[in-house]
C-alpha cells in the first residue's frame, strides 16, 4: 500500500527526470522520451490501485486540509493518467508537425512530450483539492501548461491565434475565479470546502454575498467546462490547437472542471437560486452546442461544438447532483473522444481535417473507419456503446428529479446529434474516396485504438466495473 500523495510526487519526478534527460541527451530520437513517459505514467497508473485510505475530511489537519483521497479523486487520478497516456500516444503520431515548427530536427519535441506530464500532475492534484487556494493553484498549473501546449506549433499563425484566445479567456476566467473566492472567503472566513459548508449552515451568513461569490466561481468554471455563454473560445481554440492537445483539452481539462464543479457546488446546493441558474446554463449549452454543430464541415470544429453539447448533458447530471452519472458519462466521453481524435490525428496528416477528407475512408483503411464509426455512434448515443449508457444514467437522474425541461430539450438535441455524427459516418462509408491509398497506422496507435474500441463496447454492455469502482 502507498499513500496517495506519492502518486503526484512520482509523476512530478518523472517529469523532471525526463526534462533533465532531454536537456543533456541531445543525440537521441526524442520519441524515446515519449515512450519513457508513457511507461512511467503506466507504472503510476498501476500504483493508483494500491492507495491506502486517509483521514476523513472532518478531522483533517495540515496537509489533509487541502488534499483528500476519496473514491472520486482516486478514480479521476486514474482518469487523468489514462488520458495523458493516450494523448502522448497521439503526440508521437503528431511529431512531424511539431518538428517543422522548430529550427533543429528534434528541438521542442522533448518539451512537447514533457509538458503533458506536468499537466497530468496538475490534474491529479486538482481532483484531490478540497480547498479553494489549492484548487486555484493546481488549476493554474493545468491552465498554464495548456497555454504552452496550445500554442506549441508556433510557426502556424492559426495555432498562435488559438493560443492567444485561450490565454486571454482563461486569464479572464482566472480573474473571476479569484474574485469569487475572495468573496466566499470574505463571507465565511474560510477557504476549505468542508469548513465553508459548516459556515454556510449558520443562519447569520449573508446569502446574497455568498451567492455572488459562487456565481463568480461558476463563471470561471463555466469557461473551463465550456458551458454557454462562456464557450466562445472553444471552437477556435479546438480547431487551432495541435490535435492531440485538442483531445487533451476536451477530455482532461473538462473532466477536471467537472470534478471541481461537483465538489464546489456541494456546499452551495442548499441555495435554490443556484439550481435554477444551473438549469438555465444547461439548457443553453445543450441547445447552442447541438445547433451550432449541425452545419460544421471541419471535423475538429464539429468535435468542438459536440464537446459543448456533451457539456450540456454532463450539466444535467450536475443539476441533479448525481456524481456517479456524471463520472460515468465522463469515462464514456474519454473513450469516445480519444477514439475520434486518434483517428483524426492520423487521417488529418494524410488528407486534412475537413469531413470531406474522410470520404471513402472505409476503402482506404477499414480499421480506422471502423474505429471512427464506433466513436461517432457512441458520441451519438447508440445502445451497446458506452455513450448510450452515459446518456441513460444522465436521463435517469433527470427524470428522477423531474427536470422536465432538461429532459425534453435533451431528447430533441440527441436527435440533432444523430444527424451530425452520422454525417461523418456517411462520408466514410457512403462517399467515394478522393484518392485511393492505404493509410499506415503505427503498432502502438493500433493497440491503443483497438483497446479504446473494445472498452467503448465493453462498457456499453457491462457497466458494472465502473459503477463498482465508484461505490466502494
Amino acid at each position: 500500500m502507498i499513500t496517495a500523495p506519492l502518486l503526484e510526487v512520482g509523476v512530478l519526478v518523472l517529469g523532471m527526470v525526463i526534462l533533465m534527460f532531454e536537456a543533456f541527451a541531445t543525440k537521441i530520437d526524442k520519441r524515446i522520451l515519449a515512450f519513457a513517459a508513457i511507461a512511467g505514467l503506466a507504472i503510476v497508473l498501476v500504483a493508483t490501485f494500491f492507495v491506502a485510505p486517509v483521514p476523513s475530511p472532518n478531522q483533517a489537519t495540515g496537509f489533509w486540509n487541502f488534499y483528500t483521497v476519496d473514491r472520486l479523486s482516486v478514480f479521476f487520478k486514474q482518469f487523468a493518467l489514462l488520458t495523458t497516456i493516450l494523448v502522448l500516444i497521439m503526440m508521437i503520431d503528431y511529431a512531424p508537425a511539431v518538428r517543422s515548427s522548430f529550427p533543429g530536427a528534434h528541438d521542442g519535441l522533448g518539451e512537447f512530450f514533457t509538458v503533458p506530464i506536468f499537466t497530468c500532475a496538475g490534474l491529479m492534484y486538482l481532483v484531490s483539492a478540497i480547498d479553494f487556494i489549492f484548487i486555484f493553484v493546481s488549476l493554474e498549473l493545468v491552465t498554464i501548461s495548456f497555454y504552452v501546449l496550445v500554442s506549441f506549433t508556433r510557426k502556424n499563425p492559426v495555432t498562435l491565434e488559438a493560443g492567444v484566445k485561450y490565454l486571454v479567456l482563461s486569464a479572464l476566467s482566472t480573474a473571476f475565479l479569484v474574485y469569487g473566492i475572495a468573496w466566499i472567503f470574505g463571507v465565511t472566513g474560510q477557504t476549505n470546502l468542508q469548513r465553508i459548508t459548516e459556515a454556510l449552515a449558520t443562519p447569520s451568513t449573508d446569502q446574497s454575498a455568498t451567492l455572488l461569490g459562487m456565481v463568480l466561481v461558476l463563471v470561471a468554471l463555466g469557461f473551463k467546462i465550456a458551458a454557454v455563454p462562456f464557450q466562445i473560445w472553444v471552437p477556435d481554440v479546438y480547431q487551432g490547437a495541435p490535435t492531440p492537445v485538442t483531445a487533451y483539452l476536451s477530455v482532461g481539462s473538462k473532466a477536471a472542471g467537472f470534478v471541481v464543479l461537483l465538489r464546489v457546488l456541494r456546499p452551495f446546493a442548499t441555495l435554490p437560486q443556484m439550481q435554477r441558474l444551473l438549469v438555465l446554463i444547461a439548457l443553453l449549452t445543450l441547445i447552442y452546442g447541438n445547433l451550432a454543430a449541425l452545419p460544421q464541415g471541419n471535423l475538429k470544429r464539429l468535435l468542438a461544438y459536440s464537446s459543448i453539447a456533451h457539456t450540456g448533458y454532463l450539466l444535467i447530471g450536475v443539476v441533479c447532483l448525481d456524481s456517479n452519472a456524471v463520472v460515468f458519462y465522463l469515462v464514456a466521453y474519454l473513450l469516445m473522444t480519444h477514439l475520434s481524435f486518434a483517428v483524426l490525428v492520423i487521417v488529418a496528416q494524410q488528407t486534412g481535417e475537413q469531413i470531406a477528407d474522410f470520404d471513402g475512408l472505409a476503402k482506404r483503411s477499414p480499421f480506422l473507419a471502423f474505429a471512427m464509426l464506433i466513436g461517432m455512434v457512441s458520441l451519438a448515443g447508440v445502445p451497446f456503446t458506452a455513450g448510450f449508457l452515459g446518456k441513460f444514467f444522465i436521463f435517469y437522474a433527470a427524470i428522477l428529479q423531474r427536470q422536465i425541461a432538461l429532459v425534453v430539450i435533451g431528447v430533441i438535441t440527441v436527435g440533432c446529434g444523430f444527424y451530425y455524427y452520422l454525417k461523418v459516418v456517411r462520408a466514410m462509408y457512403w462517399q467515394p474516396a478522393a484518392k485511393i491509398d492505404n493509410i499506415s497506422v503505427s503498432t502502438l496507435s493500433r493497440i491503443a485504438i483497438g483497446a479504446l474500441i473494445a472498452a467503448t463496447i465493453w462498457l456499453g454492455v457491462y457497466p458494472q466495473p465502473i459503477l463498482d469502482a465508484l461505490k466502494r
Binding site: 431528447v411 456517411r426 462509408y429 457512403w430
Partner: protein, 492 residues
C-alpha cells in the same frame, strides 16, 4: 435455445464482417435460426402461462439489471415471424455490387436485434436490441438504397432516433414509477408490481402517453408515419422486407408486452386518442395509398395503413382482439415481406416501379405474377390467408371491446369505418396488380424472364406460411392467447 436463436445471426454477422463468405454464411445462419425456432415451437407448451426457457445473466445488482431471455406465446410468434422473414430476405438478397459482406452482416444484425428484442425479458435489453437493429437499417438505406436514398436515410434516422429516445424516457419513467424496493428492469417483476397496484393511475397515464408516442413513431402510427413510405421506397428489397416485416412490429409488441399489462389505467385513459389516430392510419393513409403512382410508395403506404388494424386490435383490449392483432402482425409481416421482395425484384429487372410504365408483366413472369397476386390477396385479407383470420378477430374483438363500453361508442364507429378500410385496400391492391401484371405488355419488357428457381424458395416459404396459418389459425391462437389471459380477464 433462445440464446442460440438470438446470437446465431449476430455471431454470423460478426464472422461475415471478419471475412467469412457472406452469402453462404448468412443463408446457413438464417436457416439454422429458423430450424432452432421451429424446435422451440415444438417444445413450447401452450398451457403454461408463464415465460418458458428463461435464462438470466446478472449485469448490475444495484440497478436490478440482468440479461434475461425467455419466451411466451406472444414472443414466440414474433420470433417465428422474424426467423421466417430473415430466411426469405437473406435468400432474396443475391449478389450485391458493393460491400457484399457488410450488406449481409447488416441484414443479420437486424434479424438478431429484432429477435433479441422480442425474446428479452429485461426492459433495458428489450430497448437496446431494437436500437442495435435500427442502425443497420439506416446504413442499408443510406449505402445500398435506390432513388433518393440519402434524404430517406436522414429522415428515418432523425425520426426513429427521436422516437426511440422518447421511448427510452417512457421506459425510465416506468422503471421509476414502482417503489424503490421493487424497482427492477425485469418485465416479470414489473408485472408483479403492477398487479399489486404499485403504479399510480397518474403515472400510468403519463407513461402510457410517452410509450404510445415512442412506439407510435417507431411503428408509423398516424401522424408520425411520414418517414415510412419514403424509407421503404428507397430501401433495398431485403432491408424493406426486414424492417416492414419484423422490426416495425417491435413497437406493437412493446405496447402488448408493456403498455397494456403494466398500465391498464393509462391504456383506458388514452383509448379515444388511440382510436382516432388509428382511424387516421386506416382511412387517411388508405386514401393516400390509392393516390400513389409508384408501386414501392404504394406498398410503403399500405404497410402504414395495415398497422392501423393491428392498433385497433390492441386498443380493443379484449382477448379476441388482441389475439387477432398478434395473428395479423404475423400475417402482415409475411405478406408485406413477400410484396416488397417481388417489388424489389421487379425494380432490379425493369429499373422502374411507376405504374404507367409497367403492365402485362404476368405474361412474361407468370410465377412472379401469381406470387404477387397471392400476396395482394393476403394483404387485402381474403379468406384462406392468415390476414383474414387476424382481421376478423380484430373486428369482432373491437366491436365488443374489452373495456365493456356499450353500443355506439367510438369503438363501434371505428370498427365500421375500419371495415370500409378493407374496401380501400382492395381498391389499391387490385389496381396495382392490374397496372403491373395485367393489360397490354409494353415492348420494353418482352425480354424479361421469370424468377429463377432459387428465388422461388423464399417466395414459396412466405406463401406457404401464410396459407398454413390461414387454414389453421387455431394452432396459432392456442399458442398466443394464454399470454394475455392473465391480465386481460383481470381487466373486466
Amino acid at each position: 435455445m433462445v440464446l442460440f436463436v438470438i446470437f446465431c445471426p449476430i455471431v454470423a454477422a460478426i464472422l461475415i464482417m471478419i471475412g467469412a463468405p457472406a452469402r453462404k454464411m448468412a443463408v446457413a445462419a438464417s436457416v439454422l435460426t429458423l430450424g432452432a425456432t421451429l424446435l422451440l415451437l415444438a417444445s413450447f407448451s401452450p398451457e403454461q402461462h408463464d415465460f418458458q426457457e428463461v435464462t438470466s445473466f446478472p449485469i448490475s445488482s444495484e440497478w436490478h439489471l440482468s440479461f434475461t431471455t425467455g419466451i411466451d406465446g406472444l414472443s414466440l410468434a414474433l420470433v417465428l415471424l422474424a426467423a421466417i422473414v430473415t430466411v426469405a430476405a437473406v435468400w432474396f438478397a443475391g449478389k450485391i455490387d458493393k460491400y457484399q459482406n457488410a450488406f449481409y452482416a447488416c441484414l443479420l444484425f437486424i434479424s438478431g436485434g429484432a429477435i433479441g428484442a422480442f425474446a428479452s425479458l429485461d426492459l433495458f435489453f428489450f430497448y437496446a436490441f431494437h436500437e442495435l437493429a435500427l442502425i443497420p437499417t439506416f446504413l442499408l438505406i443510406g449505402i445500398w438504397g435506390g432513388g433518393n436514398r440519402v434524404a430517406a436515410a436522414w429522415k428515418i434516422t432523425i425520426y426513429l432516433a427521436i422516437g426511440s429516445f422518447i421511448l427510452l424516457l417512457g421506459l425510465i419513467l416506468l422503471y421509476q414509477s414502482v417503489p424503490t424496493a421493487s424497482r427492477s428492469f425485469d418485465i416479470r417483476a414489473l408485472k408483479a408490481a403492477a398487479s399489486l397496484g404499485q403504479i399510480s393511475g397518474d403515472a400510468q397515464r403519463h407513461i402510457y402517453l410517452l410509450l404510445l408516442i415512442g412506439f407510435g413513431i417507431l411503428t408509423s402510427l398516424f401522424p408520425f408515419h411520414t418517414w415510412a413510405p419514403e424509407a421503404y421506397a428507397a430501401a433495398p428489397a431485403p432491408a424493406a422486407m426486414l424492417h416492414a416485416g419484423i422490426l416495425k412490429k417491435f413497437g406493437l409488441y412493446g405496447l402488448l408486452r408493456l403498455a397494456i399489462p403494466l398500465l391498464p389505467e393509462g391504456a383506458r385513459h388514452w383509448t379515444n386518442l388511440l382510436v382516432l389516430l388509428l382511424l387516421g392510419n386506416i382511412i387517411y393513409v388508405g386514401l393516400v395509398t390509392i393516390a400513389q403512382k409508384r408501386l414501392d410508395w404504394m406498398l410503403g403506404y399500405s404497410s402504414v395503413m395495415h398497422i392501423g388494424y393491428i392498433f385497433l386490435g390492441i386498443a380493443s383490449a379484449s382477448i379476441l382482439g388482441v389475439t387477432g392483432a398478434v395473428v395479423l402482425m404475423f400475417a402482415h409481416g409475411l405478406s408485406i415481406a413477400l410484396l416488397f421482395a417481388l417489388a424489389g425484384e421487379l425494380r432490379k429487372r425493369t429499373g422502374t416501379l411507376v405504374f404507367e410504365e409497367l403492365g402485362g408483366l404476368a405474361k412474361v413472369m407468370p410465377f412472379a405474377g401469381l406470387a404477387f397476386g397471392l400476396g395482394a390477396f393476403a394483404a387485402i385479407g381474403l379468406p384462406g390467408f392468415a390476414n383474414f383470420a387476424g382481421e376478423i378477430m380484430i373486428f369482432f374483438g373491437a366491436f365488443k371491446n374489452g373495456w365493456e363500453i356499450g353500443r355506439f361508442h367510438i369503438f363501434q364507429i371505428a370498427t365500421v369505418l375500419a371495415l370500409w378500410g378493407m374496401v380501400i385496400s382492395t381498391v389499391y391492391m387490385l389496381r396495382a396488380y392490374r397496372k403491373v401484371f395485367m393489360g397490354a405488355l409494353n415492348e420494353r419488357w418482352t425480354g424479361l424472364v421469370d424468377l429463377r428457381s432459387a428465388l422461388r424458395v423464399p417466395v414459396t416459404l412466405l406463401v406457404g406460411a401464410l396459407l398454413c396459418y390461414g387454414f389453421f389459425p387455431q394452432s396459432f391462437v392456442r399458442m398466443t392467447t394464454p399470454a394475455f389471459r392473465t391480465y386481460l380477464t383481470a381487466n373486466k
